[in-house]
Structure formats: structure tokens, C-alpha cells
């Protein structure tokens, strides 16, 4: 790879890396997500500095053009990342639903704590 390219890409990765650290420090990004991004950065750096590794990998998987293999891996990686997010969102959807129901029921319990109708079973303290 021409030196110019190496410098440009290393600079980009560095910016991304610093941004991730900063986001984690500000606690905008949770730690368990930041390691994922840091690992992505390091992999990119590895392939920038050691292009020959990418060529070896291409040979290994029977690819022809190293760049195609790289793109393919990137797309695969992003697809897996999306799948991971879908799983998280599914879990969050259940949690949010349960919380919303809990809020509605707790509110109902509070409203009726003093003015419970005679035939209504009052909220039970658990």
C-alpha cells in the first residue's frame, strides 16, 4: 500500500478510536459496546499495516481479489452487528412493555389506595 494511503487510513482509524474512548468516558456508550468498536479499529489497523495478511486470508478462503474479500468481510460483520442489535431491541421491547404495564398498574394502585371501591380488592402489599 502506498504510504499516503496508510497515513490517511491510520489517521481516520485514530479519529474513530479517540471518538469511541471519549464516548465511553462520557458514558454515552456502554463499556460492553465500546470493546466491540475498539476491536473493529484494531482489526482495521492490522490490515492497513499488514496488507500481506489480507492477501494470505484471500488465498485461504479461495478469493481472487483481496479488496473483494475485505468488502465481503465488512458486509458480513455489519450484518452480524445488525442481528445483534435486533436481538437487543427485541429484549428491550419486552422490558419496555413490562415496565409500561407496571407503571399503569402501580398508578392504579396509588389512585385507589385511599378511595378503593367497596367491592374492589385493594392493592395488596407484597
Amino acid at each position: 500500500m502506498p504510504t499516503r494511503q496508510i497515513v490517511v487510513f491510520l489517521a481516520l482509524v485514530l479519529i474513530l478510536f479517540v471518538a469511541i474512548l471519549e464516548l465511553a468516558r462520557r458514558r454515552v456508550l456502554r463499556v460492553e459496546y465500546s470493546w466491540l468498536w475498539i476491536a473493529s479499529c484494531l482489526t482495521t489497523v492490522l490490515f492497513i499495516l499488514r496488507y500481506d495478511l489480507l492477501v494470505k486470508l484471500t488465498d485461504f478462503v479461495g478469493g481472487v481479489v483481496p479488496t473483494s474479500v475485505l468488502f465481503f468481510l465488512c458486509i458480513l460483520y455489519l450484518a452480524l452487528l445488525c442481528l445483534h442489535y435486533s436481538i437487543r431491541i427485541s429484549a428491550l421491547t419486552h422490558q419496555v412493555k413490562d415496565l409500561a404495564q407496571e407503571v399503569a398498574l402501580l398508578r392504579l394502585g396509588l389512585e385507589n389506595a385511599d378511595t378503593a371501591p367497596l367491592d374492589a380488592p385493594g392493592p395488596r402489599l407484597e
Binding site: 412493555k97 404495564q101 399503569a104 398498574l105 392504579l108 371501591p117 367491592d119 374492589a120 395488596r124
Partner: protein, 237 residues
């Protein structure tokens, strides 16, 4: 006196219908506790319900039909009601049809469904719906061996075991359909059906229709697959 019957009504913007519905329920079921689950309605649903002496649980944002029904069932479960009935707030159900369902639960059923099909052979509700209903009823029958004609009915009575199943976090929370039956069967609940009339819809907006119907069929087919082959709902992550 402690009531044994909770009637819960999922309601989205039903201020215009609730007076009549709650009034009729009061007359037929004077001893029942009425709970309106207001799904973040933008009209006076909650106020109208309160003015008729119903309990009101207002969700902080819209969860949709299944989430609303589930909130009501959770209330019933927590307060130890032996029977929880789910009832549409739009006036399409007949309070008198609750009787046979309650009897069925008293007689040992965990889940009793008010079937529009049993009530009238001519029940339609649109070609697509009819088609969808027979498809899923047929599939449910194949998968569970139960002759349930109307799994989507909003009129149901649940005993404690039925309530416990429907209250699980991962219970299907869109529209309970054939998948709910499959899960109920897998949980070894006793399921039965009683006829229930359905008044024609005066509705401006219906839950299923249009392109949504196509998505619904795909969702339901997949949901059935998951319900049949999936992990136990009780299992923790």
C-alpha cells in the same frame, strides 16, 4: 364482599362507546370489578370510565391490543381473581355471553373463548378475515388437536393458570391468535369454547386490514412456528 370476577376492557379512544358498554356490564354483572386499560388514549376514555365507577389503568404510551389485554390480566393475577374476562370496549360484545364462559372456568377450564363462529354460522367480517380465521383455526387444530373455531376472539375468560400464561413477559403481545392456543396447549391448559355473538362493527378504524393483513398472515405463520417449536416461555435468558 370480595369479587371473584374481573372484567378487563382494552380501550383505545373509546370514550364514545364506553358509557354504553360499562353501563350494560354493570347491569348484567353488578358484582364484577370492571377495569379499563386505557392505551394512552387521546380522548376522554379514562374520564368516562371513571365516571362509570370502573377502575382505570392508563398506560404511559401505546402498547397495542395485546399489551393492553395483558396489563389487565396481570392485574387480575396479582389480586387473586379466580376469573378474568377480557371484553372489547367498543360495544361489539354482549355482556350476557360472559355467563357461559365464567361457568366454563368455574367448571375447570383454564381458558374459555367466546366464539363468533359457534354463535352464528354466517359470521363473516370480510372475506380476508374469514379466510385468515379459517386458515389459522385450521392450523391451530392441526397443531393442537383442538377444535377451536375462533382463536382471535377478544372475548375470553381465564382461570388462574390461564392468567399466569397470558401474563408471561414473552407471551405473544400483538394479537393473541392461534399461537396463543398452541402455547396454552403446550402449557397443558384446559381450553374450551362457548358461543358469543358479535355485533357488527360501527368502526371507523379496524385493527386488521389492508396491507397489514398480508404482514399479519406472515407474522402469524412465523409466530405459530415459534410457538410450536420454540423454547419454553418460562425459561430465563
Amino acid at each position: 364482599m370480595r369479587s371473584e370476577l374481573l372484567i378487563t376492557l382494552p380501550a383505545l379512544n373509546e370514550a364514545n362507546n364506553l358509557s354504553e358498554v360499562l353501563g350494560a356490564l354493570r347491569v348484567s354483572w353488578p358484582e364484577a370489578v370492571l377495569l379499563v386499560v386505557d392505551d394512552a388514549s387521546t380522548d376522554a376514555t379514562a374520564a368516562v370510565a371513571r365516571s362509570h365507577g370502573a377502575l382505570v389503568a392508563t398506560l404511559p404510551f401505546r402498547l397495542g391490543y395485546g399489551g393492553g389485554v395483558q396489563a389487565g390480566i396481570k392485574y387480575g393475577l396479582r389480586h387473586g381473581f379466580p376469573i378474568v374476562v377480557t371484553f372489547d370496549a367498543d360495544g361489539q360484545h354482549d355482556p350476557l355471553d360472559i355467563g357461559p364462559l365464567v361457568e366454563a372456568v368455574r367448571g375447570g377450564a383454564d381458558l374459555a373463548i367466546g366464539s363468533r363462529v359457534l354463535a352464528s354460522e354466517s359470521y363473516r367480517g370480510g372475506f380476508a378475515r374469514q379466510w385468515g380465521r379459517s386458515l389459522f383455526a385450521g392450523l391451530a387444530r392441526g397443531l393442537t388437536g383442538l377444535r377451536i373455531t375462533d382463536p382471535t376472539s377478544g372475548l375470553k375468560a381465564l382461570g388462574p393458570r390461564g392468567q399466569a400464561l397470558f401474563a408471561l413477559s414473552r407471551f405473544p403481545d400483538r394479537y393473541p391468535d392461534a399461537d396463543a392456543l398452541v402455547l396454552a396447549r403446550r402449557a397443558r391448559l384446559t381450553i374450551t369454547e362457548r358461543p358469543a355473538r358479535m355485533r357488527p362493527s360501527r368502526n371507523r378504524r379496524s385493527m386488521h386490514g389492508g396491507l397489514g393483513a398480508v404482514a399479519y398472515v406472515f407474522n402469524m405463520l412465523f409466530s405459530l412456528f415459534v410457538a410450536t417449536t420454540g423454547r419454553d416461555l418460562h425459561r430465563k435468558e
